[in-house]
Symmetry: C2
Subunit: 200 residues, 2 copies
Amino acid sequence: MATRSGRRPGDSGARAAIAEAARRQFALAGYDRATMRGIAAEAGVDPALISHYYGSKRQLFASVVELPVDPAAAVPALLSGPPETLGDRMIRMVLGVLEDERARSRLIGLIRAGASEPEAARIMRERFGEELLTVAAEQLESDQPRLRAALVNSLIMGLVMSRYIVRIEPLASASPDQIAAALGPVLQRYVMEPLGGNAG
Amino acid sequence: MATRSGRRPGDSGARAAIAEAARRQFALAGYDRATMRGIAAEAGVDPALISHYYGSKRQLFASVVELPVDPAAAVPALLSGPPETLGDRMIRMVLGVLEDERARSRLIGLIRAGASEPEAARIMRERFGEELLTVAAEQLESDQPRLRAALVNSLIMGLVMSRYIVRIEPLASASPDQIAAALGPVLQRYVMEPLGGNAG
């Protein structure tokens, strides 16, 4: 039944083509403005096939939205090096992802959707609350692991917004090394150092 | 045509009512989806009056978009205290703004627009490049003042996204004191300490 077109009902390629088209449409148009019809057209399938595989638009978004790195693999890799340079390894991994155009556009799409649409924000919260933050938090031996994971998330969101979306200078044109020098010690603090500070 | 006072063509209140309605509509609907007609309806004026006062939608956005604090006043006030607690004063001023519902919704609207719409991002970049970053950078006696100002901007965008828009826990429900303890030292680093770190 499947042929080289990879676009027919029942073809294993159709499901992947829908997912890829959905990621692109959500990234380009945002969650609200992306349509099942537009996603179907880009994937070259009948809109009914999307419902068949994924259900509603909300379910489709929740299924296809994913981080550009797999936290279950990335977190242990990061933690396997010397603790005193963890922040530097983290920012370099983040920049490695963000300097890759495809991964960057996917992450920008996610953040755009989360910024604008409460439904998308809720899905991000649920998915990443379970996926990234929990994995990271469980493996950190510091106190307040979930707050630390959330602070890391906050730094990454701020970096994506300021450097890649709004493009505030000189952050937008700074080299990865300059960014790593500025933000690596902050990530080091977020994951390893006392968070109480001497405030208050 | 509206008959309440402060809503008539030529009335000095109409201009302010349009600005207020525009800020609300841009915050609620985003830059793309906000319409001159909707803004006119909310302000109780004829749509032609908006063009008369502000020109195009782009010009309207650029005119009414503004930071919840006036950098020309806020920056010197922050810098007038002891340098070693500048980061703590900064985060407490930011939180003071963000815990105020009206100021928060205005800032969220701005960040939403900037996240989703290149045109809005461009306006933010132009406006705040000149307004906030330049004022802050000129008054900082550290090296790389513009990079420092951009890092501060990045931290604030990340905080707004993670705590108030996507609402990542436990950042979303942390007390202002907890946030200040976690982020004050980072702001202190961004504005006062060497940025080179020991990375690389």
